[in-house]
């Protein structure tokens, strides 16, 4: 499998320390080591490994220590470890990333690569979008008989209503209490559209299962244990759909929320030059192409070709993409009271016991 092939080339030293949530991937320098780049990442290592590998080929004297966390844990650890900080922080939980940057923990950086980013993918030259990630629905079309795929949320609600008992207990979505991006996407939709309430009602009526990662959800979907997966990350959905043709990926035509994996260099970074080089590399055509080809992520640059490029995404689907912009509106989602209000509503809907995938593990 692809994952194992990648891992064989790396020195894996996952720390079995007290903090279960942290995994350290140490990548020794390819040549003589001159410096160490400390990265805290909210993405799973597998996704980012190819671009790290290419980066080290280009700069052989750099050792990379990639610390992998859940997105919320990443945020908490960042604040707890202060004033010590890593050299680069990457995560797809835009709200938490933005909050750290707003609170002044990032240092500004300008280069030709960062300036090439669109306005909504950059804020104050302190935080930068790296890849796109549409939140999609995936349907196991095996159970649809001859019916057409639902193309929007309204059609999905309609389908669930019509199928009734057939889908009871067989709908899956993120547990937003534990999964950072699940919360981000759900709260964003909630703040933007009133119809989200109907969706939540429909989910709660049909004993929706809550999952802690895209992978777990898609696996259950491929097995046929669930038939509808809502708000799955697009890159995973496409990867699984290629493997299991029975899975159909739908970008809802009413609106498709798009989140960004973002990165910033902390103000107190001990090795800002290497972090800047890595950031530039990820944003360069070469880095973006690698993210698109090897990691199946949606590169943010328009000029990258490939199946998962932003350009391709825009051209091949009629769905209106709604990227969540990097801006102060994200502070609403990070507000403690707001979060508790959203979770309260969520919990009320899912008073029933949790689905099998629920755990406090990673959130991809």
């Amino acid at each position: 499998m692809r994952l194992s092939r990648l891992l064989t080339g790396l020195l894996l030293s996952a720390t079995a320390a007290a903090l279960q949530a942290e995994t350290l991937w140490a990548l020794p320098a390819k040549g003589t080591q001159a410096s160490v780049l400390q990265i805290h990442g909210g993405a799973d290592f597998v996704a980012i490994a190819p671009v790290l590998e290419a980066y080290q080929r280009k700069y052989p004297s750099i050792r990379v220590n990639y610390h992998e966390f859940g997105t919320r844990e990443l945020y908490n650890r960042f604040l707890a470890d202060l004033p010590k900080t890593p050299d680069l922080v990457m995560s797809s939980a835009m709200d938490l990333q933005f909050k750290l940057v707003n609170d002044g923990y990032a240092q500004p950086y300008r280069s030709a690569e960062t300036q090439a980013l669109p306005d909504w993918a950059r804020w104050r030259n302190e935080i930068f979008g790296i890849t796109y990630e549409p939140a999609v629905m995936v349907i196991n079309s095996g159970f649809l008989d001859n019916e057409t795929l639902p193309s929007s949320r309204a059609e999905l609600i309609d389908l669930i209503r019509r199928k009734g008992d057939q889908v009871r207990g067989r709908i899956g979505t993120f547990d937003i209490e534990t999964v950072g991006i699940g919360y981000l996407v759900w709260s964003h939709d909630n703040l933007r559209t009133a119809s989200n309430g109907r969706l939540l009602e429909s989910f709660s009526l049909h004993d929706t299962q809550l999952f802690s990662s895209s992978a777990a959800m898609l696996q259950q979907l491929a097995l046929g244990n669930i038939v509808i997966a809502y708000n799955v990350l697009g890159s995973y959905a496409h990867a699984w759909a290629r493997k299991y043709p029975v899975l159909s990926v739908v970008l809802p035509s009413d609106y498709t929320t798009v989140i960004m994996r973002s990165a910033f260099i902390p103000r107190a970074s001990g090795n800002a030059p290497d972090a800047q080089r890595f950031l530039d590399f990820m944003l360069s055509l070469q880095g973006q192409q690698i993210l698109a080809d090897k990691s199946s992520l949606y590169p943010i640059r328009d000029d990258v070709s490939g199946e998962t490029s932003a350009q391709n995404l825009r051209l091949s689907y009629s769905s209106p993409l709604r990227p969540i912009p990097l801006g102060v509106s994200l502070l609403v989602q990070t507000d403690a009271m707001k979060r508790s209000l959203i979770l309260e509503e969520w919990r009320r809907a899912f008073e029933a016991p949790r689905g099998p995938g629920a755990s406090a593990a990673d959130d991809q």
């Binding site: 707003n102 609170d103 002044g104 933007r192 801006g327 102060v328 609403v332 009271m337």
Partner: protein
């Protein structure tokens, strides 16, 4: 060569330069004022705009605060933050405090508003809302804060909740900069236009002067005819003065020419006579006759020398009058002095000179010229008196006049001739005495230089009275 380093002599600057300097200084001063005013205005309007955003956001948040089961619940609206995002690059901080400053949500380390100000800041909404703005540094950056207090009243609860929002100042600074840049551009443009207009105005104002100049420059040096130019009123005065001056100059030149030709005539005729007398003497064989003829030559030479002396003295006098300043002169002493000098020659002619005058007669005058005048008048009186007669000199003064009169008992001058004797080289036809005919002309010149009147009257029973009357007030 000597190189003189001079201080800039402003009075010699060209009018164009002076006007340009003055207007530039004025324009620069006005522009600087404008720049300052526009900066203040820009800052104020940027402040106002973004303060409105802050207030708007705070109000939006305030509306979403309610009591739920006796607890204050703030359901942050996304719209409030989208309002704030109109300043796209500014950081935002906020907090909500319940009654008794209990922390509800948001940043717990925000700086508080200066306590006195919140209390005093009134608002149109009466007591429902109170708000205050203040600037503070937070997390190392300048932040503008608004504190909005809202009275929350329910059946069993009443208290103020406080919404505080802070925003960094990037957007307002750049808006202010943009506004003042625009204003600066406008002021710059106005400055250039004003300068251009002023230059044009100066050029137009000075053009008649240049036309006048070139009209004068084009003339030949002997052309003294009046200028005929269409010029503005201010400059037509100058043209009139120039014309008047040229006219006078023309008169003077004419006079000079007449004088020169008359003088030449006056000298040439006696010279010719002298020459023929000398020739006659040479040709004369008889020693006695030759002796007599030679004596006549000598006499003629003396007369000619007198004439030349008078001419020269008039020239010297004219020069002195033009070049020398006046000074206080004691006229009584001056007249007495002249009388003393002429008393002896007078006695040789059998004429007695009598002086009767006031003391301490002071006058602002040219002493040299006065002496010349007095001498000429006295000489005439002595010369044209009969032996045994008397010449009376009198000097009197009152508050407004000083008058000097010289009275003799000679033949006098008939009324018809009186105006003529002042002309140069005029001599009475029945005058047997020698003379050049310049004495009274010089006296007249001196008198008119001192703005005094010179009058001839008849003496009783016979003789002439010459009276010079000075105006005491008309000091030169």
């Amino acid at each position: 060569m000597w190189l003189k380093i001079r201080r800039p002599d402003v009075s010699r600057w060209s009018i164009r330069r002076k006007l340009l300097c003055m207007t530039s200084v004025l324009l620069i001063a006005v522009s600087l004022l404008g720049v300052r005013a526009s900066q203040t205005y820009a800052q104020r309007s940027a402040q106002l705009s973004y303060d409105r955003l802050l207030t708007g956001a705070a109000l939006q948040i305030a509306e979403q605060i309610a009591l739920r089961h006796g607890k204050v619940v703030a359901d942050l609206p996304r719209a409030a933050f989208e309002t704030l995002a109109l300043a796209p690059d500014d950081r935002v901080y906020y907090r909500i405090l319940g009654p008794d400053d209990e922390h509800i949500t948001g940043y717990d380390d925000l700086p508080s508003a200066p306590a006195t100000r919140v209390r005093h800041a009134g608002s149109a909404d009466g007591d429902t809302f109170r708000k205050v703005f203040f600037d503070a540094r937070y997390r190392g950056e300048a932040v503008r804060f608004v504190v909005l207090e809202r009275l929350l009243t329910e059946t069993d609860f009443s208290g103020y909740i406080q919404i505080q929002i802070g925003q960094t100042t990037l957007a307002r600074t750049s808006l202010a900069d943009e506004i003042s840049l625009r204003a600066l551009q406008l002021i710059g443009l106005l400055f250039m236009v004003a300068l251009l207009l002023v230059s044009l105005g100066i050029w137009m104002t000075l053009r008649p002067l240049e036309r006048l100049n070139s009209a004068l420059a084009r003339r030949s040096s002997v052309d003294l005819s009046p200028l005929d130019l269409a010029v503005p009123r201010e400059i037509s005065k100058l043209v009139r003065t120039i014309n008047h001056f040229m006219q006078q100059l023309g008169g003077t030149l004419d006079g000079l020419q007449r004088f020169t030709s008359e003088a030449a005539h006056q000298i040439r005729t006696p010279l010719a006579g002298l020459r023929s007398q000398a020739q006659n003497a040479l040709d004369e064989e008889d020693a006695g006759l030759r002796q007599r003829q030679l004596n006549r030559v000598l006499e003629s030479a003396d007369r000619l020398s007198d004439t030349v002396n008078q001419l020269l003295s008039q020239a010297v006098l004219a020069h002195r009058l033009r070049s020398q300043q006046t000074e206080p002169v004691a006229l009584d002493q001056l007249v007495r002095e002249q009388c003393r000098q002429l008393a002896l020659p007078a006695l040789e002619q059998g004429v007695e000179l009598a002086y009767d005058g006031d003391d301490a007669v002071l006058l602002q005058a040219n002493a040299f010229a006065l002496r010349q005048m007095v001498q000429n008048i006295l000489e005439n009186a002595i010369r044209y008196s009969n032996p045994g007669s008397e010449v009376q000199v009198r000097l009197e003064q009152d508050e407004s006049y000083i008058s000097l009169s010289v009275a003799d008992q000679g033949p006098g001058i008939p009324d018809a001739e009186k105006p003529l004797v002042f002309e140069r080289f005029y001599r009475s036809p029945n005058n047997v005495r020698t003379g050049s005919g310049l004495g009274l002309a010089i006296a007249k010149d001196v008198a008119s230089y001192h703005r005094a009147s010179l009058k001839l009257t008849d003496n009783q029973p016979a003789g002439l009275v010459v009276t010079v009357r000075f105006h005491r007030r008309r000091v030169l």
